[in-house]
């Protein structure tokens, strides 16, 4: 198993041992098949135990897994005829967000997504998936175009947050995010958002105002990255684990809080274990939801989205 996480170590060790015994059986002709069988059973139980009881912090680690499928992976597996379109027409082309048009089961759709890199070089180009204002403005331009042509919009959310940099502030990071929030509320086309990895704060929400919002089983969605929350709440960024537990950021948490509409199951051990299977699960949801939403008129879609967000929040009356 490549890229294993710390909590997966016992399982990895067990698998290594099984491998070793098999090699022994082959090379030395000693029969360890009973032992192998026993250990395989044990490995299965251990995997059930680990992956069936993932803690919030472990899910955060899975959501950030370097091999976790990205927006471009889903684009390749889910759609046909994808054409990437570039630039905000104001400043530049932010590679931390990709956008374009494609077909989903033959029908044209618009796709927007945060894009993390696959390796260091790619990550530098993608700024680790953290967009500048021009990224959000590119997304808005592409969404406006979708609205004009009546194309549904599909957003893949996967960012630790909007980039906290000098240039980003100078060019109006706040305004870019805010404008997206307002304008996404006005589009008369279906908008479906899927959190595929990290849903980090306003930088995620800026492409997250959908009629339907789904999360992959091991993704997270939070007002702020757990480490930053810990730094603010307890002045110690190493308490990310505690923040992850306290702040209710997992998919089941968000479903319970009424923020998302559903959870898309992941393959055992996380989306990266079987990307094709994961893509199928996402596609199934997208098709179902598009089918439902296409029954609504543009005005109804706007109203539906308004009501969805209007009801989020908890308070009491005196």
């Amino acid at each position: 198993m490549a890229g294993e996480l710390p909590f997966e170590k016992p399982l990895v060790e067990l698998h290594d041992k099984i491998k070793e015994l098999r090699r022994f059986t082959e090379e030395k002709g000693i029969d360890f098949s009973d032992e192998v069988k026993r250990l395989e059973q044990k490995a299965k139980e251990l995997a059930d135990q680990i992956y069936g009881n993932l803690t919030p912090w472990q899910r955060v680690q899975l959501a950030r897994h370097p091999e976790r499928p990205t927006t471009l992976d889903y684009i390749q597996l889910l759609f046909t005829d994808f054409m990437e379109i570039h630039g905000d027409r104001l400043f530049g082309d932010d590679q931390a967000i990709v956008g374009g048009i494609a077909r989903l089961d033959g029908r044209p759709v618009t796709i927007i997504g945060n894009q993390k890199g696959k390796d260091t070089k790619d990550n530098i180009r993608r700024n680790f998936g953290m967009a500048h204002p021009e990224g959000y403005r590119k997304a808005l331009r592409i969404m406006e175009q979708a609205n004009k042509f009546g194309r549904p919009i599909i957003c893949f959310i996967n960012t630790s947050g909007a980039y906290p940099g000098k240039a980003a502030e100078e060019r109006g990071q706040s305004e870019a995010i805010a404008r997206n929030l307002r304008q996404m509320a006005t589009f008369g086309v279906p908008i479906i958002c899927v959190v595929i990895g990290e849903g980090g704060s306003g930088g995620a929400l800026a492409i997250g105002v959908g009629n339907r919002v789904f999360m992959l089983e091991n993704s997270y969605y939070s007002v702020i990255a757990p480490e930053s929350a810990a730094a603010i709440l307890w002045r110690d960024s190493s308490l990310g684990m505690r923040a992850a537990e306290t702040m209710k950021i997992t998919a089941p948490d968000l479903l319970e809080l009424g923020v998302i509409d559903g959870i898309i199951p992941e393959p055992f051990g996380g989306a990266h274990r079987d990307v094709a299977m994961q893509a199928d699960a996402v596609k199934k949801v997208l098709l179902e939801q598009l089918e439902q939403l296409s029954q609504l008129s543009p005005d109804e879609l706007v109203q539906d989205r308004y009501e969805k967000f209007k009801q989020i929040g908890e308070y009491a009356s005196l």
Partner: protein
Amino acid sequence: MLKDLFGKKRKFATVPSENLTRVPASGDQAKEAGVREKEVPEGLMNKCPHCGTIHYSKDLEKNLRVCKGCQYHYSISAPERLALLLDDGVLTEEFDTDLITSNPLGFPGYLEKLEQDMANTNLNEAVVTGEGLLEGNRIVVGVMDSRFRMASMGSVVGEKITRAIERAIDRRLPFILFSASGGARMQEGVLSLMQMAKTSAALAKLDRERLLYISVLTNPTFGGVSASFSSLGDYNIAEPGAMIGFAGRRVIEQTIRQELPKDFQTAEFLLQNGQLDMVVHRKEMRSTLAKLVEMHTSTPREGVETWQESSPLKSLS
């Protein structure tokens, strides 16, 4: 990040006394008011956190809580803001005073902190909303109060602002919001984040109804508040020296490993970078807002003509 923003803020308790000598901190009353023996007794005098000028509190009050030395605009409470802004100094109708915060995440210690802030401020939450008169013009107005949880935005703040916008739509009135906030409220997690979308969607409706929205950004306005309704005014106005931004200065410095200019994220810096329409001194705020509102009203005051009325084309049709 948040502490940086607020670390400079001084306690400003108004203890009526003309006595310039050291205040004898006697008994429980003084203790409650936070009065201690100091060279500059709090309440009676105040030292500007910016330039060090020492003011009599009474004089500072008279100067709208603006430093005479450097024009530093002290934070003011929501009731104080409304007193400066509205005819008769108060709302004609206050909205949603019955909404109070619950603890949706079961966050440890949260309710206790809220109770403290409610007791200290006499407010139900960090924003006051309502209808009032601005130089005779009916407006819907909201004012955030940074004494309450640094005016961070949780469910109640989001809901109150959204309802205020909806009432502005129902009553066809301009909406003015004074923001001051550390951002989204950590203790309500993702529910706080979603208030950004909720309030912005309400502003989209207001926009569609062609109603005026003026956002006034005061010190400090950051994070989820800056990245939602505060940046969405038809006019975005700030008070001089107000610190405004998405990310906090320290976070940015740690990220880019480079020192930021001294005036970074000040109102003046934002104006220079094209992010604001104007920076308006507290003394001019009321008249500026009234002028703006009247510029957009369909029933102007007597003697003020609309374009349609005065247009030479009118006689042609």
